[in-house]
């Protein structure tokens, strides 16, 4: 079996004491930096990247991959504990994870996230190993029209992110889309809505938006009633998930893994949909949808699994095509080039030790993460006993550094303050921030692919329905929309009838 011998080579490479050490260092550093509030995977990698340049190619990439998983993991921890996501994926985790923490079930939420991530990571790694070349062919079938339809499907899913008014959720999504449009139009070079500030020419910074509307708005809300500290329960509750919790997470974890793996393969940005999509699915099929947004185990397990699975499979386009699927992968490409390995379709054949070593290290890294993090849960949860008025100035300091470190752009810091205010006002008006974030990440992709599809299709809008994959996705969108709106409609009708009686 080729696969066995290849995996053997991979584990032999990744399992060498040096590489194990660098994997461990990467995972630890990634977790530690990523767990600092407001600092997500991108900021962490931007900070730690130069450290890896001095190493051997394999060790360097293994360490970078370790940093990547570690940072994602750390980001989820902060999202759960203090509602401070540093990444779009952990924004979803924050919705229910933070509510669990407020209920005194922070330990449960963290453990569920860790277990879900590990399971998803393991399955997705195996998928990468077995199916990488095959999946690549499928991924290349996705053109602009397909991506547009996929993003549209993702947007419809945004409705499920909110547990309040659907109208407001929609309005927040559109607001997110509009904010995502800010910056230079890539088709004409026209600056849009930048108010003449060149620093916003590449768009608003996602980390600034996420930190502002989630984290800072939450700090402000907590400062409202300083006297009655309802913020976080002093009672920590049990650290470990109960048997019932574990049972509740299995199905969402499986579905999340599947969904995340599939979306992660798409080089055009499918992975960012993973956690949002999983949340939608779970809420939709849950027997207790009313729990979502108030501390649902499934609402943490599903998206966390999906997110981690997507993170693994997003290595597929990088490894088989040499195409980076997200900014983190772009950094990996840079690291490979600096190490003298030019990523491309030949890497697997010409550098088998590197290729399979990275794949094996994915699994080793995930294993290390869970071994490292399960015992740490107790420590993280203890952080909640730090008095809030000591915690939040520290959070503000880390946020400032984290946002600045991504691009050394001081305007991103001004944006943080602006988004903090905006998030707070919207929160007071009972508008939830999650759909806004989804809109923001999808906005540019939606527009870019819509316009590109129209250009490639010579202005013929039927291109969206004549291409089979695109048509299927659009069909799904319609179905999802109907399924979503039906209960609302029937509820309204029920109300009307009851009033009439």
């Amino acid at each position: 079996m080729d696969l066995i011998s290849n995996l053997g080579l991979g584990f032999a490479t990744a399992g060498s004491p040096t590489n194990l050490l660098f994997c461990l260092i990467g995972v630890i550093l990634g977790t530690l930096i990523g767990v600092l509030p407001g600092i997500g995977a991108t900021a962490t990698i931007a900070m730690l990247l130069p450290i890896t340049f001095q190493l051997e190619p394999v060790s360097s990439l293994i360490m970078l991959a370790g940093i990547y998983y570690g940072a994602q993991y750390g980001g989820s921890t902060t999202a759960i504990l203090i509602n401070m996501p540093g990444e779009s994926s952990s924004a979803v985790t924050a919705i229910d994870g933070y509510q669990l923490a407020r209920k005194g079930k922070a330990g449960t939420a963290l453990a569920v996230a860790a277990l879900g991530s590990f399971f998803a990571g393991s399955v997705a790694t195996l998928l990468v190993a077995i199916l990488a070349p095959l999946l690549t062919i499928v991924a290349l079938k996705f053109g602009a029209a397909e991506y547009f339809s996929l993003m549209l499907l993702g947007l419809v899913a945004a409705i499920a992110l909110a547990h309040g008014s659907i109208l407001k959720a929609l309005a927040m999504t559109v607001l997110g889309l509009l904010l995502g449009v800010v910056g230079t139009d890539i088709y004409t070079g026209t600056p849009r809505f930048t108010f003449g500030i060149t620093a916003y020419a590449d768009g608003l910074n996602f980390v600034a938006l996420a930190v502002g509307v989630f984290g800072i708005a939450e700090i402000l809300r907590n400062l409202e009633g300083e006297q009655d500290r309802t913020v976080l329960t002093t009672k920590l509750g049990s650290l470990w998930p109960s048997r019932a919790d574990l049972k509740a997470m299995i199905a969402p974890m499986l579905r999340g893994t599947l969904l995340g793996s599939a979306l992660g393969i798409l080089p055009g940005g499918g992975a960012i949909l993973a956690s949002f999509a999983s949340y939608t699915v779970e809420k939709r099929i849950s027997k207790t949808p009313e729990e979502f947004g108030k501390g649902s185990i499934a609402g943490v397990a599903g998206p966390e699994s999906a997110n981690n699975a997507g993170a693994q499979t997003s290595f597929i386009p990088l490894l088989t095509l040499g195409i980076p699927a997200n900014p983190v992968m772009a950094l990996m490409v840079g690291a490979m080039i600096i190490q003298g390995v030019v990523p491309g379709p030949n890497v697997a054949a010409e550098q088998p030790a590197l290729f399979w070593g990275i794949i094996a290290s994915m699994w080793i890294g995930n294993l290390m993460l869970i071994v490292l993090n399960l015992p740490l849960i107790g420590l993280w949860v203890k952080l909640l006993t730090v008095p809030y008025h000591v915690l939040f100035p520290i959070i503000m300091a880390f946020c400032s550094i984290g946002v600045y470190s991504v691009n050394s752009n001081v305007y991103d810091l001004y944006a943080v303050a602006g988004f903090g205010l905006m998030g707070y006002v919207l929160m007071k008006l009972r508008c939830e921030p999650a759909p806004l974030l989804l809109g923001f990440v999808l906005g540019p992709l939606l527009e870019e692919n819509l316009r590109r599809a129209m250009i490639l299709g010579r202005g013929d809008p039927t291109t969206f329905v004549t291409r089979p994959i695109s048509a299927t996705l659009l069909g799904l969108t319609v179905i999802v929309l109907i399924v979503m709106l039906l209960p609302q409609v029937s509820k309204k009708r029920a109300e009307v009838f009851s009033e009439a009686e």
Binding site: P393, I394, I401, L426, G459
Partner: protein
């Protein structure tokens, strides 16, 4: 029988309408283009339209639902929390990383009534030392520790 208006929803809807109008006006200043070659204004203009419609719908529903109180506002929080990152942005290059992060923490700490001046100072010094060690010394981020505004 006049029903109470849901002021929160009315305000939210009004805000969305205002934002929609703002973006729409800006979009009209740009080339709209055609469906084949959409100009930079096409997509935002469509979105602004949707936004205004949704805002109007939210205002409309405000008339048929109960009022919910907005609650207290964190004025002190806003006065100190929001300027903290702005201050960091304004001074990180001029003053340098070390003094800038110190004052940033200090400003943020003043948002809490519970923090005495002394406690704020101690906390800010601790954060300053920790951040300098971790980010500047440990990770070697290209921050200038002390900037040109300071006499050497």
């Amino acid at each position: 029988m006049a029903r109470p208006i849901n002021k929160t929803d009315a305000a939210a809807g009004g805000l969305f309408i205002a934002v929609g109008v703002l973006f729409a006006v800006q979009s009209m200043g740009m080339e709209i283009g055609t469906a084949l070659r959409m100009g930079p204004g096409y997509f935002p203009l469509v979105l602004s339209g949707v936004m205004i419609l949704l805002g109007a719908a939210i205002v409309f529903t405000a008339f048929s639902s109960e009022d919910e109180p907005v609650g207290t506002l964190a004025w002190r929080g806003m006065m100190f929390i929001l300027p903290a990152p702005i201050f960091f942005g304004l001074t990180v290059r001029g003053l340098g990383f070390v003094p800038s992060i110190f004052f940033t923490t200090l400003i943020a700490a003043r948002a809490a009534l519970k923090m005495s001046w002394l406690a704020s100072l101690i906390l800010s010094v601790a954060v300053m030392i920790f951040c300098t060690l971790v980010f500047s010394v440990g990770l070697g981020l290209p921050f200038r520790r002390f900037g040109p505004w300071l006499p050497v």
